[in-house]
Amino acid sequence: MAHERNIGDTILSVDQISLSFGGVKALSNISFAVKEHEVFAIIGPNGAGKSSMLNCINGFYHPQEGTITFKGNTRRQVRPSEAARQGIARTFQNIALFNGMSTLDNIMTGRNTKMNKGIFWQALRFGPAEKEEMEHRAVVERVIDFLEIEAIRKTAVGTLPYGLQKRVELGRALAAEPDLLLLDEPMAGMNLEEKQDMCRFILDVNDEFGTTIVLIEHDMGVVMDISDRVVVLDYGKKLAEGTPDEVRTNQDVIDAYLGVSHDDEEA
């Protein structure tokens, strides 16, 4: 996509990250840097360590070695709630929504880190909390409008079709007005039309709000079209990094994908 954006300085840098589970190395010595306003993709075959990488960034996993620097704060271990407060929001590969709640309430939870009026006021729905609730509701309504999900505002998300659930999940992440948006296989399990919609939303988010996006994708085609830069992982190691064109012609990448092409059928 050739639209102009002001790609800024590095917002996230991952340095020499290694992660293992009980002796099994999930990631070894991974480094890369993501610039502000960029769409950055992490790709690789199944089991390459993509999700583990994402989980390190938002604090679900704590890498044994290496550091992650986000907006100038360097850390190795961070709690997920702390990462969220710093401005990292995410979606999940297997949709993780609050099924008992409505679309509206789900997206409202995305405002969690921005709410600070005391519980007493909230309980009374009065005074400062009332005003705060209205302000948050306004942000959420903009997200609903943006994602064109007005019709399901009051619907319990558990009853929605898959494609819409994905959209609500994206909405919840957007409601946090994040600086960095992590998308774990946003297009998994979608049909062609839904994929196109999702691509459009991702690009629009990046464009309208200037949000930096790091996304994981298993399917190379879609990602190459929407990403500014790509890093390729395989068996927990970094194979290549660069623009989609550079990566596409990289021999290691071609080998890795050819070698594991059967994974596509399983998925």
Binding site: S81, A96, F98, M108, N112, T113, Q122
Partner: protein
Amino acid sequence: MLFLLETVISGLMAGVMYALVALGFVLIFKASGIFNFAQGVFALFAGLALYDFIATDGWFYELFGFALPVWLGIIATMGVMIIVAWLVEFLVLRHLVNQEPIILFMSTIGLAYFLEGLGDILFGSDVKPLDIGLPQGASDYLLDNFNLYVEKLEVVAAVVAAVLVVVLAIFFQKTRIGRALRAVADDHQAALSVGISLRTIWVIVWSVSGFVALVAGVMWGSKSGIQFSLSLIALKALPVLILGGFTSVPGAIIGGLIIGVGEKVAEVFAGPYVGGAIENWFAYVLALGFLLIRPQGLFGEKIIERV
């Protein structure tokens, strides 16, 4: 006729008590998916602590030479329950994140016995009459005008339970914390990703259920004194939950009332034919029947598996 009415009313009042305990279960179950076996012991523990703060034969009096006024005692007890909640999170739950529900359930059984033992060591095992100034005896008004015998305390208990339910409903549905609680109950990972701190939420939930336990402890204690059999009410709460549904606040109330009335009426009218003591097993048989017909309970969410 009048006798039946009296039986029903006394059943309703007993039901309110069951409901109070069941409510504590529901809260924790809703917010964390944990079946807290220790809820009954919580009520006992809260009652014991309160007694200790306000009586002249407890630790507190011994240490400081005076007893707290009732209202301050209640606040202090609430403080104790919050500390207990925090300790439970810090010492137990924190280390069991993402474990199977059955493991968490087992841990609450351990917790129950630990607290019971602790209460025994700290406060002794004798029955303690709790008097915090709630009205006692029969309502003269009803007795004089309708010839109806109703304990004042039971009326108070009913009112308190009603208020509690309204407050909890508002708390769950209308506040950010309530929304966060429901979020945590639905999906831990997703809740974490939006910046909800599991630890904070758990401390809050257990504190709230500690508060409910305190109310239950006070009511039962005022009625029949604080004694260790209180922890056994926890078992009565189980059929109540099966009837009402594990996730429903109104379910806990209605379930409690049905069991309360059911067992009293059965005892009085059917008891003589089967040799009595129906009260001891009626609730369980009723629950068993319910499990067969409507396993999610009266108000429970239908379990829908999406394919």
